[in-house]
Each structure stands twice: as structure tokens, then as C-alpha cells.
């Protein structure tokens, strides 16, 4: 690689938490760093701007998290969502997660005191004070203070890994930037509707993307095309049930739809298709996201009456209301006869808290839908991120299909999270993976560049 002049020691592709952690770690290790954020400054931070908390291992209570969450518990939960995960990498991740809170705090991130009674009880996660955008702001402030060069609106068009030191092409007119090492922290590909459609078929047209529109997967595709080992599953997403009126991008946490378990859910034909009482815990959002993603037209309707409608937090969008089931059906574009039959059959089948002789059954929280006004929310699948990534080693180096590492190419965050999460997801783990591997990737990239 002698003879080629480099613009920077370390180039970081991405502008979310993994990229920021990598830039900080690399800069603190003495490297000159350029960070390329595809978004504009006000919308910077990738999906991290929509995050709230981070799952971390800890042996004893800290000011930021109650109780204890031993490595064994964390690993067991990871195995449950991803039994194919890399065991060595998972253990390294879980053990490193213990120290990441202090490291982030040392880099300006503020956490919500665990003793504050407004927080939901958690022995597993720390909460960012003010949420993910506050974290993003704090990390950008630190990055800037350390003297990292930042380019906003810096969407990468191509990666060049096979000929000398890594380089990227970006911008209009095109510019090529070369660095001694590269950290790719550009997230998943959920922002590329075409790619989603190839994996999911027509259903993808109805997905809302809950986070940044800039996760278009260009660097991911480039890495795979140049021989990186894929990991995870291209046809898997982390998704939750959102209000069907959510914006196409960036709807974040607030479009998530509560209350599904309290009423019934029908497809656009007006028929129930799943047991609404099967899951009532926090995973209900993801369970329903995946169910609705496979509905005809990618849409379903959560139905309730005046009594049930008081039992959950309403959507940020107004409920569609009518004084009769028939009128409600018309408002939703469903044949009134079918919806009437569905509701009548459901009401008639309720015995106690569940239904009897109904298919599919409702096994919990079965209340009759009787009292007008009747209400409904349209439901769609909201995609958080895709589950396809590149394989990395314990130094966050991207691995080729022959098992050897690329020279000076590292990955961090959601683009390598499937090494640990497979095609699954564990709440609060993505932010921890981003911080832990961002820090490792930045440090290793600096070591590689400065050796």
C-alpha cells in the first residue's frame, strides 16, 4: 500500500451510534478520521435517533440500572433469539457491554438515573436521558471536539476494497476518498424499497420504515459484492405493528400501535386471522408486525368498542369511528356483512376471558365488542431494520468467504449485528452492539492505519 497517498487514517461510513463510537475510538487512538453521514445535519444519527435504551450486562446495581444482569442471563436470551449466532463473538459482546456505559458517559452521553420512578422498571437496560437524539447530539459534540472531520449529506456511492487501501466514492460530482482503514457502520438496507421488494415480494410495498431513509444498504451490498461473508437473513426484518397512517420513514416509537390485544384484529376482508390474546407482553408489537406483514395488502384493522377503547393508550392518529359495525366496515372499506358476521361470531363465542369454539380463538382479554361508538386503527408492519449483515471477527474486521479478513476493513452496528442476533432481535441489544463494536472497530481501524 506504499505509494498511494491517503486522505485520512480512518474513514467511517455512517452517522449513527456505531459510526460515532468508531470515530471517537479511532480519534482517541491518534488517527485522523473522516465521518461520512448520509443524512443532513438536522436528521443525523441513523436509527439511533429513535432509540431509547441499551441492554447491558452488569453484576451489581449502578446509578443507571437496577439489580443485576449477569452474562449468563444475557447470553441465554441471545441464544433464544439467535441459536446460530457466533458464540465467541456473543460472549465478547456481552462482557464488553458491561463497560460501555461508562465509556459512553465519558464521551458525553447522559443516562437517566435508575432510581427515578418515572422509568419503567428494568434490570437489563440503561435509558438515555432524553432518548436517542440526545445521545446522538452528545456523541457528535464529542466527535467535533476531538477534531474528527464530519461530512453531512455524504452518501456513499461505491466502496473500493480490492485494490490498495480502502476507498469510497461519494457525492455529485463524484469524489473518491482514500483512507488507511475503513469502518463501515451504515446500518441495514430497509431504506431501499427495491431490495426489500426482492426479498419480501409485494408485501414490502406496504411497509413503513420506522427509522432513517438513508439506510439504503449501498455499503452493505458493496461489501457482499466484493466477497464479504453474509450473515443473518436477507428476508428477515425487525418489525413492529404501527398505525397504518404512519409516515413512510422516520415514524419511530410513536407510531407503534398499542391495544391490539384488547380488541380483535381483522384483515381487509373483515376476517380474524390470529389469536389476539396469545401475546400480551412487550413482544406483542413484533409478533403483530410480522403477522400483518403477511396479510393481503399488508394491512389489518385493530377493532374495539367504546369500553375496550379506554383500556389502552390511543394512537397518535385519531381512531376511525362509527356508531355501528356496518358503518365502521364501510369506513374501512370492508364488506359490512362480513365484518358484522365476524364480530357477532366473536361476541357469541366469549366465555369468561376467552373464546370457545372460535377459529382462530382469542385466548386472553376477550371482551365483547358491543358498545358504540366502535373504533378502529389501520395496522401495518413498521420495519426497524433488516437482518442481513457481514461476518466479522473479534476485532470487528470484515471476513471474506475464505475466512480471511479484508485488509483494513471493519464493520460495526446493525451491519454486523446479525453475527450476534442472527435473523432475530432482542430489545435494547442493537444499541449495545453498536456502541461495543463501534468502539472496537474504531480502535482496531486506528491500530491498522497507524501500524
Amino acid at each position: 500500500m506504499t505509494g498511494v497517498s491517503c486522505d485520512f487514517d480512518v474513514l467511517v461510513v455512517g452517522g449513527g451510534s456505531a459510526a460515532l463510537c468508531a470515530a471517537i475510538a479511532a480519534r482517541r487512538a491518534g488517527a485522523s478520521v473522516l465521518l461520512l453521514e448520509a443524512a443532513s445535519r438536522p436528521l443525523r444519527g441513523g436509527n439511533a435517533r429513535h432509540s431509547r435504551n441499551m441492554r447491558v450486562m452488569h453484576q451489581a446495581p449502578t446509578p443507571w440500572v437496577l439489580g443485576c444482569y449477569p452474562a449468563g442471563d444475557y447470553l441465554a436470551e441471545l441464544r433464544r433469539v439467535a441459536d446460530t449466532a457466533d458464540a465467541g463473538l456473543s460472549r465478547l459482546f456481552v462482557e464488553s457491554s458491561a463497560g460501555i456505559v461508562d465509556w459512553l458517559a465519558g464521551n458525553g452521553v447522559r443516562f437517566h438515573g435508575a432510581a427515578d420512578e418515572v422509568l419503567p422498571y428494568s434490570r437489563k437496560t440503561v435509558f438515555f436521558l432524553g432518548g436517542g437524539k440526545a445521545l446522538v447530539n452528545a456523541l457528535y459534540a464529542t466527535v467535533k471536539e476531538l477534531g474528527v472531520a464530519i461530512r453531512y449529506d455524504g452518501e456513499v456511492r461505491a466502496l473500493h476494497l480490492l485494490d490498495g487501501p480502502p476507498a469510497i466514492t461519494l457525492g455529485e460530482p463524484e469524489v473518491t476518498v482514500r483512507a488507511r482503514s475503513l469502518v463501515v457502520a451504515s446500518g441495514g438496507f430497509q431504506g431501499d424499497c427495491g431490495w426489500l421488494r426482492r426479498e419480501w415480494g409485494e408485501a414490502a410495498d406496504y411497509f413503513a420504515i420506522r427509522g432513517t431513509p438513508h439506510a439504503t444498504g449501498i455499503p452493505l451490498r458493496a461489501l457482499l459484492a466484493q466477497g464479504a461473508t453474509p450473515v443473518g437473513a436477507a428476508d428477515r426484518c425487525h418489525m413492529v405493528a404501527v398505525d397504518g397512517r404512519a409516515p413512510l420513514f422516520d415514524g419511530g416509537i410513536v407510531t407503534r400501535l398499542d391495544g391490539i390485544a384488547h380488541g380483535i384484529v381483522v384483515d381487509r376482508e373483515g376476517r380474524r386471522f390470529a389469536d389476539e390474546g396469545a401475546v400480551v407482553g412487550p413482544t406483542r408489537y413484533t409478533v403483530w408486525g410480522e403477522l400483518v406483514a403477511r396479510c393481503p395488502g399488508g394491512v389489518a384493522f385493530s377493532l374495539f368498542d367504546a369500553v375496550i377503547g379506554e383500556r389502552f393508550r390511543p394512537s397518535i392518529f385519531p381512531a376511525i369511528q362509527a356508531d355501528s359495525i356496518g358503518d365502521l366496515a364501510s369506513a374501512l372499506g370492508i364488506a359490512p356483512g362480513v365484518l358484522n358476521a365476524t364480530v357477532t361470531a366473536y361476541n357469541a363465542a366469549i366465555t369468561g376471558e376467552a373464546t370457545a369454539g372460535l377459529h382462530p380463538p382469542k385466548t386472553r382479554l376477550a371482551s365483547p365488542i358491543l358498545i358504540p361508538p366502535f373504533g378502529a386503527y389501520p395496522v401495518r408492519a413498521g420495519v426497524t431494520s433488516t437482518c442481513l449483515g457481514v461476518r466479522v471477527d473479534e476485532r470487528a474486521r470484515v471476513l471474506r468467504r475464505d475466512g480471511a479478513a479484508f485488509d483494513g476493513v471493519h464493520a460495526a452496528g446493525v451491519i454486523m449485528a446479525p453475527n450476534i442476533l442472527g435473523g432475530g432481535y432482542l430489545a435494547g441489544s442493537a444499541m449495545a452492539i453498536s456502541a461495543v463494536f463501534g468502539r472496537i472497530a474504531g480502535r482496531e481501524a486506528a491500530v491498522h492505519a497507524l501500524r
Partner: protein, 384 residues
């Protein structure tokens, strides 16, 4: 005025939408008392808007931390939305009732006009009826001030105006208290009052959960909290000075002016200094603040109060400096006129934020007590 009604409704609808989104998010829980209070409500009523908008200290941390702030399509701007509702709540609860919907204004002109009239009302009669050699002469020793303006006139006029203002504020606060909706029942008032007093005295809600606030931009600072402390405790010290002076005069028979090292002068100059620093600092922060979360139209009313308080303090300090010169008479008149103007505008200026904020803090503290009681009762039932 249908136009104004439309405005009112639009402002309320925007704020309600913002709060609904905030309630679905709750990431800002740790910043201030607004979010826990919001969390305990499923829906936001008009009463809740009145309450929450006055509980907001306008620290703007939630704006800078907001993933839905512009240019996001949701265009969420909670501090700005609540500022506009808050301003309307001052108008809705002003006393006497015929002024409702008219005063207090959003600009600086009302406060400026009343202050100007007050200064004129003090200065002109003296200039007309008191011999110039008295007004422009040098005075020394006990009772020097009262040779220019008789004590009875000062105490009588200022007292009457203050009495009216306190009455008006009292009625306004009572109306505002009802405007927040029914208070939680069965709450012990004393601990809630202690809570609210501590919140007000420490400005805990300008702490940003420990980090400080976004006084100017994304960076956190404690400047606004400190300047407000300087102003608040400065005003308190000035009232303490007046109180001590009253005891000296009527209890002990010592008449003003007092020596530099006496309690009234020490309290007064320390308080005046605090007010000058506090008001100047707050105005500078305002001028340099990121305009994003600021309701621009309200800056006039804010700055009018700050400017008036600055002038009150500065004229008091000048009086101290000039009290042994020929300028004392005029300095005294201007200072008294400004103080009178401040007293007269109390119920009709941005000053209303102080009693309203305290009432909202008290309400929030009562709700916290009620939630704790509810939780304990729930736990007891759970065990039973």
C-alpha cells in the same frame, strides 16, 4: 373577534397534538416535571393544557432531544407550542374579568406605557409643587429622601398600587387554579407545598435531569438557571431591605437614608446587583438563543419585564451612588416611578408566570403525592 378565537383553537390543537405525540414517546421523562405529569394522563384536556403549559419552564431540552422536531414531517415543537398556550392562559385568567382575552399583551408596549405614566405621575407633581431648590438640592442625614417626597405619599401610593396588584394576582391565580381542573382529592397539602417550594426555590426543573438545559443550542448549560436565581434572590433581597428599613423607621425610629454598612443598604445593593446581573444575563441568553424552539411574538413581553426590572435595580443602585449629590432628588423620583410602574404591571405582565408557575408546581406535587398514595394502596391490595 373570530380571528383571535381561530388562533386560540389552532394554538390549543397544535399543543395537544404535540403532547399526544410526547405521551406516546416519553423519551424526555427525565428532563422535567411536565413529562411525568403528562404520562399520568391518557388524553390531554383543555385543563391539562393550562396546567402543563405553565408547568413548562421553557428549558428547551425536549426540543433539542426531539427526533420529531423540524425538519421531521411531524414538525413537533413542544416548548414553542406550550409557550403560546401559556401566554393565552395569562390572558384567560387576568383580573378583573373585563380584561380577559385582552391583557396581558404579548408585546412590550403595555408595560412600557404603564411604566412611563408611573414615572411621570411621580416626577411631574413633585416638579410642579415641590420647590426646585429642594428637589435639586443636596440632602444629607436622616429623612433626606422624605424632604423630596413625603413618606406618606410614597407609602400611600405604592401601598395602594401594590394592594391592588396583589388582589388582582390573587384572583388570577384562583381562576388559574380552577382552570387546571379539579385538584386530586385526599392529598395532604403540607408535603406538596414543601415540594413545590423546594422546586421553585431551586428551579429543579431547569436542571435537565442533571445535565443542565439547552439555554442557547444543543449544548447544555446552567446559565439560565443561575441568572434566574440571581434575579429571583435579588428581588427577594430588595424586599428584605425594604422590610428591614420599615422596622428601622417605624420600630426603632431610624429614618432613611441608612449608612452603607447597614442591613437595608447591604441587602438592597446585593439584591440590586443580583437583579442587574440576572436580567442582563437572561436578555443576552434570549438574544443568542437558537430561534427554533422560541415563540418569537412573545419575546416583547419577556424583555419588557426584564428591562423594567433592570431599570428598577439600576436606578436603585444609582440612587445609592448619587444620594449625597444634587442628583439625588431626581434619581429618587425616577427610581420610585419605576418601582411604581413595576408594581402596577405585576398582574398584567410576564410577571404572572411566577405565581402561575408556582401554582402549577404545587399541582404537580399534589399529583405526585396522589400517585404515591395510589401506588401504596395498590401494593397493599396486592398483598391482601
Amino acid at each position: 373577534m373570530p380571528c383571535a378565537d381561530d388562533d386560540t383553537e389552532r394554538i390549543a390543537a397544535t399543543a395537544r397534538r404535540a403532547l399526544d405525540i410526547c405521551n406516546a414517546c416519553q423519551f424526555c421523562d427525565g428532563y422535567c416535571a411536565v413529562f411525568p405529569a403528562l404520562k399520568s394522563r391518557r388524553l390531554v384536556s383543555a385543563n391539562d393544557l393550562t396546567f402543563l403549559s405553565n408547568l413548562c419552564h421553557n428549558c428547551r431540552s425536549c426540543y433539542h432531544a426531539c427526533q420529531y422536531a423540524p425538519p421531521h414531517a411531524f414538525d413537533l415543537n413542544l416548548p414553542k407550542s406550550l409557550s403560546l398556550v401559556r401566554q393565552q392562559s395569562y390572558r384567560d385568567h387576568v383580573w378583573p374579568p373585563p380584561l380577559r382575552g385582552r391583557l396581558p399583551g404579548t408585546g412590550w408596549s403595555f408595560v412600557a406605557a404603564v411604566t412611563f405614566v408611573s414615572v411621570a405621575l411621580v416626577v411631574l407633581p413633585v416638579l410642579l409643587w415641590v420647590p426646585p431648590e429642594l428637589v435639586f438640592g443636596r440632602h444629607a442625614g436622616e429623612g433626606a429622601f422624605y424632604r423630596v417626597v413625603p413618606w406618606g405619599a410614597v407609602a400611600g401610593v405604592a401601598g395602594a398600587v401594590m394592594l391592588w396588584s396583589l388582589l388582582a394576582i390573587g384572583f388570577s391565580v384562583a381562576s388559574f387554579w380552577r382552570g387546571m381542573g379539579p385538584a386530586p382529592a385526599g392529598v395532604a397539602l403540607r408535603p406538596a407545598l414543601c415540594d413545590a417550594l423546594s422546586d421553585a426555590a431551586s428551579l429543579r426543573n431547569l436542571g435537565g435531569g442533571g445535565a443542565g438545559c439547552n439555554d442557547r443550542d444543543e449544548r447544555f448549560s446552567r446559565a439560565r438557571r443561575r441568572f434566574h436565581h440571581a434575579l429571583f434572590y435579588g428581588v427577594a433581597l430588595c424586599f428584605a431591605a425594604t422590610g428591614v428599613a420599615t422596622v428601622y423607621d417605624h420600630g426603632l425610629g431610624w429614618q432613611a437614608p441608612y449608612p452603607v454598612l447597614s442591613l437595608p443598604v447591604l441587602f438592597g445593593s446585593l439584591g440590586g446587583g443580583g437583579m442587574v446581573i440576572g436580567t442582563a444575563g437572561l436578555v443576552l441568553l434570549k438574544l443568542r438563543a437558537d430561534p427554533g424552539p422560541v415563540a418569537k411574538g412573545l419575546a416583547g413581553a419577556d424583555c419588557a419585564l426584564l428591562a423594567l426590572l433592570f431599570l428598577v435595580a439600576a436606578s436603585g443602585l444609582s440612587l445609592l451612588a448619587l444620594r449625597e449629590t444634587a442628583a439625588m432628588g431626581l434619581g429618587l423620583l425616577v427610581h420610585l416611578g419605576l418601582v411604581l410602574g413595576w408594581f402596577a404591571t405585576l398582574p398584567y405582565s410576564k410577571f404572572l408566570h411566577a405565581p402561575f408557575r408556582f401554582a402549577a408546581l404545587l399541582r404537580a406535587a399534589m399529583e405526585r403525592q396522589a400517585r404515591r398514595v395510589g401506588k401504596r394502596a395498590g401494593n397493599a391490595r396486592g398483598r391482601g
